[in-house]
């Protein structure tokens, strides 16, 4: 029974990512490599952050502001990292295009670029889920479960799985938005990603309050779903634009 519950938590967190992986990523070996390296980058960022915060932990006070600083620094650091990733991606894209020219294959399509961004985002998302949720799940496979005082409506594992799912969604699709924004020089797209990340991070501070998760989690899901919707809208717009341009060229 608890084994089933544990597997359930895992699937709740990673189910959508798994579906994305199987349908989009796994057919293209290069995307798997991108996914792995992006996961590694996220892990390294987490290690650096924890090395920085090691001095101050554990936070003894029950006030919220140390946590706010923690989340602020983390988000700033990771958003900075996204810029670095973009630079690296830019170089890689040139290399890929040069390679494609040499072997007389078509250059990267727009969809290819988006898929690379998706793989990168999925890597971040999966890393997040793995380190913040899955790695704590080990006890949930054993007998019994665990409740935290501040959110005693559901087992801790279930709550963290639910929160992680929202973050996986945010990480995955905000990478697509960000890369697209950088590519087009679109300022609003570039700024909305750190904003989303920061808002989502801040919303989890609500969980510190007693039964704050009742409020915090729905708000988090609103953020996640609007990220998804924004990303979908943006991709649709770009795809239709290029379609129109292509048909014009053909005429």
């Amino acid at each position: 029974m608890t084994l089933a519950a544990g597997i359930g938590y895992v699937l709740l967190t990673l189910g959508p990512s798994l579906a994305l992986f199987v349908t989009v990523i796994s057919t293209k070996p290069f995307l798997i490599l991108i996914l792995l390296s992006s996961t590694l980058v996220w892990l390294i960022s987490l290690i650096v952050l924890s090395g920085f915060w090691k001095v101050f932990l554990p936070i003894k006070t029950t006030t919220w502001w140390p946590y706010a600083i923690l989340i602020l620094t983390s988000v700033v650091f990771q958003e900075g990292l996204r810029l670095v990733l973009w630079k690296g991606y830019k170089k890689m894209e040139d290399m890929l295009d040069a390679f494609a020219d040499r072997v007389a294959k078509p250059r990267l399509y727009l969809t290819d670029k988006m898929q690379i961004a998706l793989a990168g985002g999925l890597g971040h998302g999966v890393a997040h889920a793995v380190f913040f949720c899955l790695s704590l799940l080990t006890p949930s496979f054993g007998p019994g479960t665990f409740y935290v005082d501040k959110c005693s409506y559901a087992p801790f594992f279930l709550v963290s799985a639910i929160i992680s799912l929202a973050f996986v969604t945010i990480h995955t699709f905000s990478m697509v938005i960000a890369f697209n924004g950088y590519a087009q020089g679109n300022k609003s797209d570039q700024l909305i990603v750190p904003a989303i990340h920061l808002i989502a991070g801040t919303l989890t501070i609500v969980n510190l309050a007693s039964s704050g998760c009742i409020v915090g989690i729905p708000l988090l899901y609103i953020v996640a779903l609007s990220t998804l919707a924004y990303c979908g809208k943006m991709v649709w717009k770009r795809l239709t634009e290029t379609q129109i341009r292509l048909t014009h060229q053909n005429q």
Partner: protein
């Protein structure tokens, strides 16, 4: 071809990474499901890997470090001696002896070590099975395994061969996870260093072995996982060169073509291979074992001749003193005194046969991950990522240097580094934040 280039890049890398990942995953599952079974109070087993020093939890840290260093030293020396012995035997053309020895060791590993692992699985999950059925199944499993790994003249699907290679890796790695903690770490470091020396230093046993094998157009006398590019109709390009920033940009134009191995016995493809004049690359066509014939071969352009080396180390385990839990497995253990198993480490060969990775790499990657699994899941993920990225680095280096490279050092170094970073730095941080339900 209309597909995007995303589909064609990195096929070979994934071809190596996926079996390694599967191997690690299964070892972790095995460790997880069996650790509750093996009683912590059980007698520490003495194997070749801890001949000198038996770690006890009560020992002081310096005692542990000292003892584990000695253990590692003795083990590495043992491996080096056995490897040299093998090289000498190979040099004087005792090929038949070597082949039969490897068959025996594979039989032994699958039958006895695998058997006792199956037995503990049966016990752990209370699978209702009687001894006779168990032995018949085990015997069949073992015989098929030995045949498929060293099949000559029998057309055996490459998939089966690969499956058994991974299984061998899992079984040996699962045994190694029984070692005490400090010994495991020093052993891994020592092996990585040994691997580096043996493959790269002039006069290193593995280097000699690879050169010998390539000068004789022979298969390496070692257990090696061959990642064969998946058979498909579309000619795919081997494009690792790209990943290293067009180092080999001049030669990418040549199309990589596939031949049936039968064709490649004709002069034309032999010539094609001869064009690849990397000194180390063995020209394997003439002596290929017959079952290679039905495999797809791919003649490759020079750019794609990244190759993996095949090395050979010997892992010697003295099973005699293993304490077993049941009469049945004690019986199994009687045959254990010859507990030798040849795991092979790194070496490179040419792409025409895909990347090759020594079984020893599988084993020690999995040992590291399995050891990490005894601490926490978080360290498992971190180590997995580190090892895979180390493997990726090695493969990229392979395409640059085009010679046999050791696969252990980078991965093991990264793996150990990430293990301790995760354990010391990350875990308190992540547990602290996420138990407060805070994430970012």
């Amino acid at each position: 071809m209309d597909g995007s280039i995303l589909e064609s890049i990195g096929v070979e890398i994934i071809g190596v990474m996926s079996p390694v990942s599967i191997c690690m995953l299964l070892v972790v599952l095995l460790v997880y499901s069996l650790t509750s079974f093996s009683s912590p109070s059980g007698e520490p087993i003495r194997t070749a890997a801890n001949l000198v020093y038996l770690e006890a939890p009560s020992d002081s840290t310096s005692q542990k470090i000292e003892g584990s260093l000695l253990n590692a030293l003795v083990f590495v020396i043992l491996i080096a001696v056995v490897t040299f012995l093998l090289v000498v035997l190979y040099y004087y053309n005792f090929t038949n002896f070597l082949k039969n020895y490897m068959r025996f060791s594979a039989f032994f590993v699958l039958g006895v070590m695998g058997g006792s692992i199956f037995l503990s699985i049966v016990r752990q999950f209370s699978i209702p099975i009687d001894a006779v059925t168990f032995f018949i199944l085990l015997f069949n499993f073992t015989v098929v395994g030995v045949l498929s790994i060293f099949a000559e003249g029998i057309p055996i699907p490459i998939v089966l061969r690969q499956v058994y290679m991974v299984l061998l890796g899992i079984i040996v790695a699962a045994w190694f996870t029984n070692l005490p903690e400090w010994t495991t770490w020093t052993l891994l470091v020592a092996l990585a260093v040994y691997d580096l020396v043996a493959v790269l230093a002039p006069g290193g046993p593995l280097k000699i072995l690879v050169e010998l094998a390539s000068s004789r157009d022979d298969d390496l006398p070692a257990l090696v996982y061959e990642a064969r590019p998946t058979v498909s109709r579309n000619p795919r390009r081997s494009s690792l060169g790209l990943l290293v920033g067009g180092v080999s940009s001049d030669s990418v134009e040549v199309e990589m073509t596939r031949h049936n191995a039968a064709d490649s016995r004709d002069g034309d493809s032999v010539e094609e291979m001869d064009e690849e004049t990397s000194p180390l690359v063995p020209n394997m066509v003439p002596n290929m074992v017959p079952n290679v014939r039905d495999r797809m071969r791919s003649g490759s352009s020079t750019s794609s001749e990244f190759s993996v080396a095949v090395g050979q180390t010997e892992i010697v385990e003295d099973g005699e003193e293993r304490e077993e839990r049941t009469p049945l497995s004690a019986m199994l253990d009687m045959g254990n005194e010859m507990g030798r198993q040849s795991g092979s480490r790194e070496v490179r060969e040419e792409t025409t046969r895909g990347i090759k990775l020594g079984l020893g790499d599988f084993v020690f990657y999995s040992v590291l991950v399995g050891r990490a699994a005894m601490y926490d899941l978080m360290t498992v993920y971190a180590c997995y990522l580190a090892i895979i990225s180390g493997l990726g680095c090695t493969l990229i280096l392979l395409s640059v240097f085009r010679q046999a490279l050791p696969a252990l050092p980078i991965s093991i170094a990264l793996g150990i580094m990430f293990y301790f970073l995760t354990r010391v730095l990350m875990e308190p941080f992540v547990v602290g934040t996420s138990t407060n339900l805070m994430m970012f």
